[in-house]
Every structure is written in C-alpha cells, then in structure tokens.
Amino acid sequence: MSWSEFPSMSRADLRSLRKSIDESFRNFTQEYGESLERFFDPLLEFLIFSERLLLSTPWPIMIAICAALAFLASRSWKIVVGVILAFTLIGYLGMWQDTMRTLSIITVCTIVAIAIGIPIGIAMARSNKLQALISPILDVMQTMPSFVYLIPVVMLLGIGKVPGLIAVIIYALPPIVRLTNLGIRQVDPDVIEAADAYGCSGWQKLVNIQMPLALPSIFAGVNQTIMMSLSMVVIASMIGVKGLGQPVLKAITNQYFSMGLLNGFAIVAIAIIFDRVSQQYGRRIQQHRQGDHNG
C-alpha cells in the first residue's frame, strides 16, 4: 500500500452514495416543490409589486425621492448631490430600467433580511446554546460558494425572481444576524444590572435598553447586508433575476468590454450611495456618545 494515495471509497460506492442523495432530494422536490412555490408566492408578489412601482414612477420623481431619502438619512448635501449626479448619469447611459430592477430586489432583500435576521440575532443573544447552534450555520451560509446552494434552490423552485432572491438572502443574511447578536451582547452589563434592579421585564429590557444600545451595531449589519446583496446580483442574474447583473453576464459571455464596465460602475455607484447614506445615518444615531458639553 502506498501512502501517496488516499484510501478513498470505491468509485461505485461513491456514485451510489451521490445517486441516493440526489434521488431523495429529487423525490423531495417532486413531493413538496409545488407547495414550497406556493409558500413563496407572497414574496413573489411583493417583488413584482416593488419592481413595478419603481419602474412606473417617472424618473424625475424617482430621483427626487432618492435624493430626499438620502438627505433625511444623512443630512449631508454632498451625498445628495452625489445621488442626483449618479442617477442622472445612469439614466443617460441607458441603464435606468435595469438599475430600478436591481434597486427593487435589493430593497426587498434587505427588508426580508432585517425581518428574519434581527429576531434570530435577538434569540441568539439570549441563549448561549442557540448561539453555538446558529454560528456554524451562518459560517456555512457565508462561505459556501453560492453556486452550490443555487443548485437545490433552482431544483426546488425553478428559475426566476424568487429563487434568485432566496440565493441573495442566504448570502446576505449572516452579517445582520451576527451583528444583532454582537450588539446586544456588548451592552454594558452595569446598565443591564440597573435595568434588573429597577424591575424591568425581559421585554422592557429589550425595547428600552438592549435594542437602542445595539442599534449602531445592528445598523452596521444592515449596511453589510446591503453591500453583500449588491455583490450577489450578477450571480443571481444567472438564474433569471433581471437587473444590472444580466448585462454584465451578457458582457462576459460575449466579451462586450464597455457594456460590462458601464453596468459594473452602475452597481458600484449604487453601492457607494447605500454605504455612505447608511453610514452617515449610523453616525447620527450615535450622537449621544459624543462627550461635548454644549449639547
């Protein structure tokens, strides 16, 4: 026996192992695929609704809304000017519709990730056992190459918006769960003791102390989630998600250099806008940390 060759399973055994796994998953797909699809119907409707809303809104109003939101969140004129310039340029270069589609899927993905991620993060912060259980799952979600979990998702739900969205959420969910958990666990134990001493219930503690104090951390999680979902749009376009990803994909397969570059820059522009706006907002909600005596 030589040590250079690993004593692996026989080829036949390996094949039958894979076959049996594939088969059982295929059976599962046939059995539950349809009901799963129906389960995700509300999500699909939400996606279609938001996409239609963004596409049917006249572009000047759309730009005005984005600029207003950016100002409300960041209170910075520099960012507002950047938003208007970026959107104008995107529109002028013929990428308006794709950009709206991408914005729509990012918005839906972020909302869903927040709705799922924050409760999971809170639950994790309250129980060490749960944390030990969920942490490795999050590791898998973040590091497993996205193509791998695209396979079962596509097998179950086919090609389209919903599987694309699920793939994006799987990739983008971990940071918000982790940072919610971390934010709550990092709350000063002295303050928690004070809350207990004044007779807070668990809920009162969560609402009055833990969540507000974890907010900056949670916000960093939201920011990360947005960034990660943006980075997934190209991969998601492979399973039929429309938006800025599709022209990039087309550009790769046909070697259209400028097309890829322009759409790539559009994605970057959206990412920078989201990032700056959410960071500024995050900084504003931390004002109480400044020790300045003039209020």
Partner: protein, 345 residues
C-alpha cells in the same frame, strides 16, 4: 427609635458561595473548612459567611468593608440581584427569596431603588429620560412621570441639564442623575452601592451633604455600601463592618470608634480623625451633671462633635462644658481631660 418595631430589613443566616456546586461547598464550610482552603482546594469562593443583621427603618445603615469583603454581594441580596446559597432576606417581614419572578419585579419596582458605583445610566437617553426610567417601568402615566422627574431633576440641582446626555456631564453630575432616578421611584428602600466612591473627594463630600440633607426630609431606609471609613462614619446612623464575608461589628459611629470589636476594626479606626466624628454624648461623664464651681463654663449640645465642643471651650477659654439634650436638660459634663483622652485614644 422604637425597639418593638420589626426592622425594615432582616438578614438571617445568609451565606453565599460562588462556584459550580455552591450547596455542596457550603456544607464543607459548615463542617469547618475556611475560606482560603475552599478557594485553593475546591475553587469556590465563600463570599458571605452566615450573616445575621438587622437594618432599621428611616435610618442610614452603612455596610463597610474593603474590596473582597462581600459588601457588594450582600447588598445585591436585598433585591435578589444575587440569590443566596443559604439563608433568608426579609423585607417588611416578607421573604425576598421566595418571591416568584413577577412578584420580584413588582418588589423591585416599588420597594427598592438602587444607585450604582459606575452610575449605570442609560447612555442613549437624556438626563430627564434617565430620571423617569424607574417610573416608566412602573407603568406610571405620562403626566405623573413628567411631574415627578422634573421635580427630582430640580431637587438634585440639575435644572437646565434635562436635555443633555450622560456622556456630556461630569461624574458628580452623572451621579446626581443616578440619585434622582432612584428617588423618583418613591421606594422605601434606597440602596447605594459605593455610590460616591468613583467621585473625587470634594464632589464626594458635596454628594454626602446632598444625601444627608435629602434624608432629613425623606426618612428613607438607606443601605449604603462604602470602603471609606470616613464616609461611613460621616453619614451612617449605624455602621456594619464586613471582613472576609463575615460581619465583624455593627453599631453607631461612636460605638465603633470607642469600642472596636476586634483588632481588625481597631486597626481600621486608628487613622480616623475622631474629633469630627465622636459626639459629646459619647465622651461626656453622665454622672457629673453640675458644673464645678468655676466661673466660665460653656454649654454644648449632646449631638455636637468633639471638634465643636473643643472650639466652644477654646473660644471661651474654659476647661469645662455642660452637655444638654434637645430639650435643654443637662445630661452630663465634659472637662479638658476627657477631651484630650477622646482625641488621643
């Protein structure tokens, strides 16, 4: 003080062991194992060792000890932030250790309020919203919360700072917020865990005066933890001294200074400036109620400190002082030799 009345807080046979299996370790202690052996052999900490103690209503009860003496652990048993390994804590005759989670919450909301060494204010809330925290948890109406919080804001001398955040205030001001937050709850028992220890000496002395002045009016039961003997003697109606988890002595300031229970206490009180603590009542001779036939005899109150007596006698160039009680009756006499003995002791 009414001797028949039950004490506000009774601590009965209270022991606390920290570690993995505290109950089992406590049995070893009861069989005679000492604190150090428990720590080195079994890695368990005996924090409190069979404490029995009564804390009286309407008075400032100081619990004093150095770090590691168990004083902070002891005060946390009163509102069960820490649960005992053995023993009972009775507040108004009710056993805190037997309360359900809901009862305990209501008890903490209504009966106790706590002030912390590191202030433990809510950093994301303004001063006024910090003061109203306890009331909000109690579920009081908005108008009541507002009225009460602004009242206490003013009483602790922070009017005008209501919209500031804690991080914008100095330590002394932050602790005023902590005090206002506790007083706003209108609880009978005020628990102060090294409340002034983190403040610098001048501010600390100010805060002690604020507390004494408020107490004259409020008559709460105040449990005050400190490691500073001067502070203990200044504000305490009674002082309890803890060492290594055991209660060594409990009594009035004069009692502790004049009759230390053991060497530990004796060493402790050796450096104290007695003249500012001892009162005329404790050093006078109550057998001698008339002045000897000297011309210049001064009259002092029984609550006057030795320093005040000394000052009165020196300024009148007198060697004798008659001590009177609040109704003006003569209760004893002090001469210069008694004074000298009290100062040098």
């Amino acid at each position: 003080m009414d001797k028949n009345k039950q004490p506000k807080i009774q601590i009965v046979n209270l022991s606390k062991v920290f570690g993995r299996s505290p109950k089992k370790m406590l049995q070893l202690v009861q069989q005679g194992m000492d604190k150090n052996e428990l720590l080195t052999k079994h890695r368990h900490v005996l924090a409190l060792d069979n404490i029995n103690m009564e804390l009286k209503e309407h008075s400032i009860e100081v619990i004093m000890g150095l770090s590691g003496s168990g004083k902070s652990t002891l005060i946390r048993h009163i509102n069960r932030l820490i649960a005992p390994t053995a023993g009972e804590v009775l507040v108004d005759g009710e056993n805190v250790c037997n309360m359900s989670a809901g009862q305990l919450r209501r008890f903490r909301q209504q009966k106790t309020a706590m002030v912390f060494q590191n202030f433990a204010l809510l950093p994301h809330r303004t001063v006024i919203d910090n003061i109203s925290f306890g009331l909000q948890i109690q579920g009081k109406s908005d108008t009541q919360i507002k009225r009460s919080s602004y009242y206490w804001l003013e009483r602790v001398g922070l009017a005008g700072y209501e919209k500031n955040y804690p991080a914008q205030l100095s330590g002394g001001m932050q602790q005023r917020v902590g005090l206002a937050r506790a007083l706003a709850c209108d609880a009978d028992i005020l628990m102060m865990d090294e409340a002034f220890s983190a403040l610098d000496p001048l501010i600390r002395s100010d805060m002690q005066d604020v507390l004494l002045e408020l107490q004259r009016e409020l008559k709460k039961t105040i449990v005050f933890i400190t490691h500073d003997l001067d502070e203990a003697l200044k504000i305490g109606d009674r002082v309890a001294i803890l060492n290594q988890g055991q209660l060594i002595q409990q009594g009035s300031a004069d009692n502790i200074l004049l009759h230390p229970a053991d060497d530990y206490v004796r060493r402790f009180v050796a450096d104290v400036n007695r003249t500012g603590v001892l009162r005329a009542r404790s050093i006078m001779d109550s057998q001698l109620q008339t002045s000897p036939d000297f011309s210049n005899t001064v009259v002092v109150q029984e609550d006057d400190t030795v320093r005040e007596v000394l000052h009165s006698m020196l300024s009148a160039d007198s060697y004798n002082a008659l001590v009177t009680n609040q109704s003006g009756k003569t209760v004893g006499r002090i001469d210069s030799e008694m004074l000298a003995a009290a100062v040098n002791n």
